[in-house]
Amino acid sequence: MPKKFLYSLLVFLICGSFASKASAALKNAEEFFLDNGLQVIVIPNHKAPIVKQVVLYKVGRIDEPEGKGGIAHFLEHLMFRGTHKFADGQFEKLIEANGGISNAATSHDYTYYHQFLSVDRLELAMYLEADRMTGLKISDKAFEKEREVVLQERQQRLNTSPTNKFWEKYHRYLWNGSLYGEPVSGTSKEIRSITKEDVLEFYHKYYKPNNAILILSGDIDVETAKELAQKYYGKINSGAIDDRKNNIAEVDDEFLHNESEIISRRKDVKVLRLIGSYILPHYQGNSPSLYSLILLSEYLSESVTSPFYKKMVTDEHLALSSETAFDYLNRGNSMFAVYAYFQESKNLLKIKKMFKETIKETLDRLTEKELQKVKNRLLAGMVYQYDNPATAADITLRWLGAGYSLADIQQFEDNIEKVTLQQVLENTSMLNRVYPVWGMLLPLSEEKNEK
């Protein structure tokens, strides 16, 4: 059974694209807590008799003990391998037999499980999800079998595309020792060193209602949600959860203020890639800097008429495509990145230079009117995304998993509208001071020509 896991780059891209379309919707969403500490978010949408359940545990790759990278992801796999009440594989079979779609994913910051179903099957899914919050039971045989699956998944990932190895290498370099630079799955060596006891300890420590968020999105009202959440999750005991803020290692300042780069060369590379990342602080939900950077990223790259695209692709024909992403939905640092895909390595230096110039020029040229257009573009389509109960749950879990609140999502539109031109200029000027960490994926054959 293929189980997705979100490796850092993927998180990066997915968050970027979702976030840039988030909105002030979810107006009718509500939040409450059970006595055992379980946080519950209900997003009523009565369009069709369907619902999505998400259970998110606030634990991911960055919370793992040293040398044991990949426990969270390994555990995510094992959660489908049976409990005291249910045999191996039964969870998925029951959901599938009842027409539902079920999966799970692990990121650096969190692990989540979700089921999308006809609403009359919700209680079944809640029963099963609550059961495996406490009842995990793994035989030695199932454990070893799953280890092979996890190892295979890792190998497959590294082997399927030359770019995957590059991204991993780049991220390790970029994060300079922070666990954000490590692959979510752990390395093969780490995966081999994980024991069943390691996983069970991790499970018993972190899979607690007071370390979890339940999201119910769809044809359910808040009263019913309260009744059912209490019925299925209410009796589960809370646990002692430590404050793990310290795990989020700050990135070395020295490193960030020196431009640096890492080059990967492979013979099978046809499309060349350049990425430049600026590691930035983690912004609070009420910080104007957060919304200034979101707007800047939207302005720079969200349309074919954007300055980057126009300059590099349409006018100068330097690149095949070019974009930016602002990845802020992390418990740790946020990151602003610029990308270019191009074909000739002789364009590399020009593109690098142009990135820096374009950010500066764009900011110099930005007018109130232009900014308003960017705001409109950013906000206009968001309500569509939230109208799909499955997507609404997905976006919500990404915000909450990163430590933001429901109110932050609900106030997104206001926060964007409030940003002034002056604020955008002030809050994004650090992009001219902080240096990007460059990563390049180039073909092997041209190495000699360049030297």
Binding site: H46, G99, L124, I220
Partner: protein, 472 residues
Amino acid sequence: MKNDFSKITPQLKRLGSLLIIILFAYGAFLFLTPQIYRFNPQYLVETSILKKKNFASNVQEITSPQLKIKAYLYEEHTNPIVSVSVIIKKMGVAYEPSALTGIGTILTDVLLKGAGKYSNESFNEILEQKAIQLAFRNSKDNFYGNLKFITKDQNTAAKMFNLAITQPIFAQKYIQQAKQDIVSLYLHQTEKPDSYLLMQAARQIYGNHPYSRTVYGTPQTVKKISVNDLKKYLQEKITKENLIIGISGDISATEAENMLDRMFAGIKNKKEKTVLEDIDIDFSAPEFHIDKKLPQVVGYFYAKGISEQHPDFYPLKLALEVFSGGGLTSRIQKSAREDKGLTYGVYGQIINYDKADLIIGRFSSTPKNMPQLMSVLQKEWLKMGKKGITETELEQVKNYLTASEPLRYADIDNLSATLAYMQKKKLGLDYLQKRNDYINNVTLKDINRVARQYFTKDNLRFMTIGEIEKGE
């Protein structure tokens, strides 16, 4: 001794009966315990407080005040958005003049390249700034328009839609671009094994009937299409009589009725005369194979299907689901799991065109496993015809289909598209609420009767592309 013995005997007797009682109780305990702990998922579903949930609003039929255009409306006010799906009947590629095939697909592109007083740039800027989503699509029988907008922008959205279908600019530049794109899409289709097979299979099945066309026409016909052709075709086809409309979302009946008049102001009210000839398909014709070196063999199976209005539609649908559906009940998937190492991608469904009702299934496997997959398909097909399905399978397939179907409506566009489809296929205003009943009411007897009729040796045709390993 005697005394002692006689004393002990009743004690033993008592002890014995006590033991028997204990043993019995223990036995009953053992017998009952698993019942207590045995989890019954269906019980949980049946007794759920959410059991009675269904589509909350009723679909209503509305009529616009001026043009008297009818539509189905599903009002739902959770979010301030509206989706409108428009089917334009008899405007699909099969209804295109044979010298102009591909004309509909050109329209799907150039209708969005400026209209009325708006240039391409300003037209699309308005759409972008207001997040109005407007798109057109072409198919065998129908041309489709889809409009999605935020409730407060309903007048602008209706106006933009109206301009696109009544006053497109048809700038030469964009027509040329669209033609180029369509020709390259056509060529791309011939390069991809899957779509190349579909193109060739269409010729095999439909012969010279217009259903053998692709939506891209041919490079020859596309190149010859002129601005005048586009104008004339658009005017002739978008007529009041050809319209079928579904609306869902945050809009009242009165608002929706007025919107319809705005969307279609200026269209003709003339009878459409194009008639598509009937077609008689031979489903027992020999297998068709294209030999090509590919890592995967891709195939399609074809059989005679049934119209959605026919009482035997749901029995056939359920039988096909058991044969090769998406859920766990699929016999083909089961047999793949049992034969270790085989992975089959098989999915079959009923397709209803204006002039043909088909069962079409796609399957794929490696060259090595393909002969086995095809023999499994054939064997299971005939078995279905002979023996039908079991009571357990019936229960499982009903459970799966009734529960999985509503997930489609997460997307509001699918909801409005279904509202339009319901009218085209005359499924009734209560289809959304009743559909699960239609499935639950099917009996084993019906399914097995219909299976005998459709799952026959003479009603199954294979089309494959790739390299099939012979042997064994």
